[in-house]
Amino acid sequence: MRAETWKDETRESRGRACAWVVLTALVAAGCQGTIGDTGPGPAGPRRAEEAPPRWERECAQTGDTVGASTLRRITAFEYGNSVRDVLGVSATLATELTPDEHLGPFTANVASDPSLVDIESFLGVAESVAAATNLETLADCTRPRDEACAARLGREVGRRLWRRPLSDAELDELLSLYALGASFAEGARFMLEAMLQSPHFLYVVEGNATSAGEVETLNGHAVAARLAAFLWRSAPDHALLDAADDGRLSTPEGIRREVERMMADDTRYEQAVRQFHFELLGLFGTDSVPSIYELSKDDSYFPEWNDALAAELREEPAAFVRHLFSVEDAGSLRDLLTARHTYATPGVAALYGLDHPGEGTQRLEFPTDLPRAGLLTQPGVLAVYGKAIQSAPIQRGVLVRERLLCLPIRSPSSTLMVDDPPFDPTISRRKQFEEHGSAVCGVQCHAKIDPIGFAFENFDGLGLWRDEDGGEPVDASGSVPDSDVEGAVAGAVDLAESLAESEMVRDCMMQQWVRFALQREVDDDRDACVMERLRTRFEGADLDLRTLITEIAVSELVALRRVD
């Protein structure tokens, strides 16, 4: 019975998806004449009477649609979250996968051919995940444990892992693997191993168009997959897939309803927001700074340094963005950079010199004379961008320049050939770099990076405030070369406030969120119309960050696909 219902839904939704493909092609081709053939979509009724979605009437008519997407393999983070959410196993099983590649600051597997080692890891992790899964409770298969139950499991688990309904043929094939097992559990495990190694899980296979430059409207299931990857970094849940089945993801309004649900007090949304910021700021480690999980500080210089404090340092930025992006706090980009509060544990509060009311993570308001602002002056961030004792002005400068302003650090003359001067209590860090830094770092580095990094000079290697360094008052004056931050900045708070007002930072953050959302680069030409509208709405909402996320999610960027 159940299978029958499901088949009908599939036919229905496929028919609708096909209708949109045709409509998109007709409307868009009428405007610009560059849309190719829509390809061999599944046959279905054309419902020309349905009005095209709103996005067809906006940017498509200006000649812009969306930039191209390339084939994407899910990241280890998505894999782990998916198997945790769908199968109830530990997400850490996915850490045995081979390392992800990067797109800008974010993990994304969009370029390389898989290697033998990759394939071995897909096999090994699939087997360990399947072995860890309680398959009987998963599909309520305690009794009877028979093929009908295995079929139900295949449909329900498969639907989420593959982000769409399974066809009868696909299900039959999985059941033939089930039949190889000596028991229900073994047979179900074989099915699951196949599902997890399948390209339907490992790759995001979306749309029907295959000709370069072709643009299509994605069907509801492809939209659901993109939304879940963006907002949760995980697999869609049944509710989202139901919405796709019912055709509720075929309009911006329908998508918006689901997006709002997905962003409402959901740990999966919080984990995506945390991941965005940790990757954006390089807190998992980069080529030139350690991971926030592997910090080492000189405990003879910092008596408070220990493993417990290291763990608390990680919690602060996570808690801060979790609250900032919640429905209640609904923070803005300005708040991200200049908030006069944080969420901290007692150990971190002590680093700020703040009283802590008790235990755990608590919201702490900054007194007016506390010279800290937002994310960039949090001790954990400054400690990653800090040495065992001393500050790391070059790395801090690169952080702001490359990741918040989207200015490239590329030319050979500005590479990070830094022979770091050792800690010397008799000379200030700034003087060390002014006197020795340019010789090893190069003139470009000196001119474009140091002036940003020097603005953080009031913070040492652990992010503690200091008035003096090397026996003299700290000089934290700086500037932001090549940017719209004009003139000098006086210290980190002034820098943060300037960055919060910078249009370049605004545009960069929009670009970073789109990169994170779609795991592709922003196309300066083709995405221009949509990006301009996003900008208008982001500014219209006074830089509200949830608005930015929502507007990306409901835009053509998610609903349309251009073939590379």
């Binding site: 390209p199 370069a212 480690g285 080529d287």
Partner: protein, 431 residues
């Protein structure tokens, strides 16, 4: 950790050829590969890569000596070593482009090519290990077996922008590399695994037409590699070769503890794989090129190894940092010595050892932690070199060094990597 040493005598004992049985033999290589069947013993290449180079003050041998002070742990292998401490420059690194930043230099070490403009960590060509594997043992289950210890920098590439990652977890190596090896007959599990892989293969075929043509090479590569894995598993049970008798402790292999304990375990796994002829090219790679974020706490320091190398300033820096760097260099030398022990204790059928038929190389993507790339530190070991000497060469490139490895393995290559930096094998290493 304590080295699990198995002498040749105890190995023969385990085979019943000695006076008494022994519990020490961790594996029994009796694989009848084509080379073995023909009676020839295959040549092998083993690369051992550590980050950040060495502190030259304590690493470079004095005149008339083979080893520098921090290489003391290698004394037991001195007669089999060629130490090259001078005259080879990583010129591709010097030649500009993205790769000049040391921390992004790792794809250059074994490719000897400039890094791509678009993706700073992408190689633009094949690495020497993969190149050599295509000659030494392309038909082996693992053309290259790349094992890591806290490794976060990929050195091996099968081609442009095609990384071949190291596996850091020895348990994973044990489970995957030796999966099914030595099993009597395929059991139901093996049959099911084959069917599962065939199903996945079918799915790849089904999605391929829906993928944009420009992206289909990724699906094709997936199919090809999947078939490699499937074939390996289908034939694994016919390999007469036992799994290494190794208990891998539970660790976070990404942690400092994992970095500390993995090298010797990986050396034991590699010896077993080489002995079984599962591969002819092996790699053990530690840390990352700049050792960013690594702490060698078991050497009495909690300082970040990257910062230590900087503070040592190529021998002109802090005394404490230079001492720590020397301890790190000694520890790396000891790990290399243990790897050589393992290969030496792995017998071939004719009584010689795997080491006798191997070219083993210790190298680093940097000469020193201060980012210098002239006077790259290289140590060659094994039966394919004339050991017991330190050589000083003049004004050569690491492209030439890599092609010298080909020559030592009997390959005819005259250049490798960027052609402009190639002038042929380095005679001093070959003679």
């Amino acid at each position: 950790m304590t080295t699990h040493k198995t002498s040749r005598r105890s190995f023969l004992s385990a085979l019943g050829l000695g006076a008494a049985g022994s519990l020490l033999a961790p594996w029994v290589p009796m694989l009848e590969s084509e080379a073995h069947a023909q009676g020839t013993i295959p040549k092998r290449l083993v690369l051992f890569v550590t980050g950040n180079g060495n502190l030259r003050n304590t690493w470079v041998p004095d005149a008339g000596r083979v080893l520098g002070p921090s290489m003391a742990p290698l004394a037991r292998h001195e007669s089999r070593l060629v130490v090259c401490a001078e005259g080879i420059e990583q010129r591709v690194f010097r030649s500009g482009g993205e790769g000049r930043d040391h921390v992004r230099s790792h794809p250059q070490l074994l490719t000897a090519r400039r890094i791509g403009e678009d993706r700073a960590t992408a190689a633009t060509g094949i690495s020497i290990d993969q190149h050599v594997a295509a000659t030494l043992g392309p038909d082996r289950p693992f053309p290259v077996l790349s094992l890591g210890a806290g490794n976060t920098a990929t050195y091996s590439f099968t081609g442009p922008n095609a990384p071949y990652a190291a596996v850091n977890n020895p348990q994973t190596v044990l489970d995957r590399v030796f999966a099914g090896v030595g099993g009597a007959t395929p059991d139901a599990r093996d049959v099911a695994r084959q069917r599962i892989l065939e199903t996945v293969h079918g799915h790849l075929g089904a999605v391929r037409p829906r993928i944009a043509p420009a992206d289909r090479h990724r699906i094709d590569a997936h199919v090809e590699r999947l078939e490699d894995v499937r074939r390996r598993l289908a034939t694994a049970s016919s390999l007469v070769c036992e799994r290494p008798d190794l208990t891998v402790p539970s660790r976070s292999w990404a942690s400092a503890e994992g970095h500390r304990d993995a090298p010797d375990l990986q050396a034991r796994l590699l010896r077993a794989a080489l002995g079984c002829d599962l591969t002819r090219v092996g790699m053990v790679t530690l840390g990352n090129s700049g050792n960013v974020g690594l702490q060698y706490s078991w050497l009495g320091t909690n300082r970040d190894a990257h910062d230590v190398a900087h503070a040592a300033r190529g021998g002109r820096g802090e005394t404490e940092a230079m001492e720590i760097q020397t301890r790190i260099d000694e520890w790396h030398a000891e790990r290399f010595a243990v790897l050589l022990d393992q290969l030496e204790d792995t017998p071939e059928r004719d009584g010689s050892s795997v080491l006798d038929h191997s070219l083993v190389v210790w190298m680093s993507p940097l000469a020193q932690g201060n980012h210098s790339v002239s006077d790259m530190p290289f140590v060659l070991a094994g039966g394919l070199v004339r050991g017991g000497r330190a050589v000083r060469v003049h004004d050569r490139t690491h492209n030439d060094f890599l092609v010298s490895l080909c020559s030592l393995l009997g390959m005819p290559d005259r250049s490798f990597g960027e052609a402009e930096f190639c002038s042929g094998p380095i005679e001093e290493l070959l003679s």
